[in-house]
Symmetry: C2
Subunit: 215 residues, 2 copies
Amino acid sequence: MRISGLAERTGVPVATLKYYLREGLLHAGTATARTQAVYDTTHVERVRLVRALTDSAGLNLGAVREVLAVLDDPPRTRHELLGAAQKVMLAREEGRRPPQADAEGEPPAPDLWVARVAGLATDRGWCDADDPLVPRLAGQLRAAEAAGITLTDAHLAALADAAAVVAAADVASVPAERAGAVRQVVAGTLLTDPVLLTLRRMAQQGASAAVEPAG
Amino acid sequence: MRISGLAERTGVPVATLKYYLREGLLHAGTATARTQAVYDTTHVERVRLVRALTDSAGLNLGAVREVLAVLDDPPRTRHELLGAAQKVMLAREEGRRPPQADAEGEPPAPDLWVARVAGLATDRGWCDADDPLVPRLAGQLRAAEAAGITLTDAHLAALADAAAVVAAADVASVPAERAGAVRQVVAGTLLTDPVLLTLRRMAQQGASAAVEPAG
DNA sequence: AATATTGGGGAGTGCTACTCTCTAATGTCA
DNA sequence: TGACATTAGAGAGTAGCACTCCCCAATATT
């Protein structure tokens, strides 16, 4: 298959495929001559993955590149895998403005968010207090608070319970084979994030209707 | 407080505040003269909300504008509220490329994703089969499948269970007063979406460690 | 032999979210 | 009262992203 065939099969314009090749998001085809190369199903899959990651998971191309790097060179040990997966999971927020403190509006308040989050994470045995996810979550809660949205302990606990349910199913779905495992964890999580959020909205409708039956 | 005070208290540059004023993301201050206006705490809150929505929830300014419009003019009936909230909830994906079908690669397959999703939603009594969330979710599942990530029924059911847990807590957290309710539903959901996703990653670490104890 | 397509690469596009610059009017301090 | 800083308002310019267009010589197809 030549590049036009790849374009046809994926629905992505030839110009864009060339751009992906240049940017290293798509591995080169097998050259048959100086101005000719053929592409196979691995290229089709790769393009579809790139498109799903950008369109559905909302990653930018830099983040996609990092994801692909992990998939192409799967870490050997479980520890490395977790580290790599973790780095990739942070990918969505990269390039954004850090939600830093609003100058000096309030008194010091030496990050009790971090303390609250660290407590939650260690209580459940999820991760250490110095995990990179802890400050991240603390920042998200701080942002909500700054916007006037306060999460009660009960509400946060419900989110955590739900996360535990999801994570159990996530882990159960991981295949034994290494490359497949990495793919399932990294791409699977990123691509099911939007699924989870949409289900939340659906369930909200149902729960709201249950509380207050008639329109 | 003048505009420089607002900038100081929110950490947002004056030039950006002026831009927000021009774009209608921030209501005008009370003019004290032709080239002078004062801003109050409502302006501080509004700016912080805009920043949280963009930085934490990842909305673009067009989506933020829609959110603010709903908050400023809260729908009167519960039905209208749900409709407005629904529209706003879709806001995050606006402006993106629709994850359309990949030209003609596979046979027809007349949207069995929609059927699967509609079944799930109606089984749980969440929404009708013609709800706008249904095709949205179907598209997300289709994208995952195209990228080589298949969700088993059990996995999807787990996500749905988790969504139910979250939604119950969401609904329980809504105050009785109308304006506060709208704010809590709309802004609260958008701002806790990233919280939920981060908790998922934390819980994955914990679940993974539980399955395979040592590094 | 004529026409179409390809790989490679430079340059241009449209969009978003600012950021800069300007002007006349106003506030602040000596 | 005058010097200087700040302000509202608005136009124009910027950086980054994800393409998209165009050109070339080499190759494939007819």
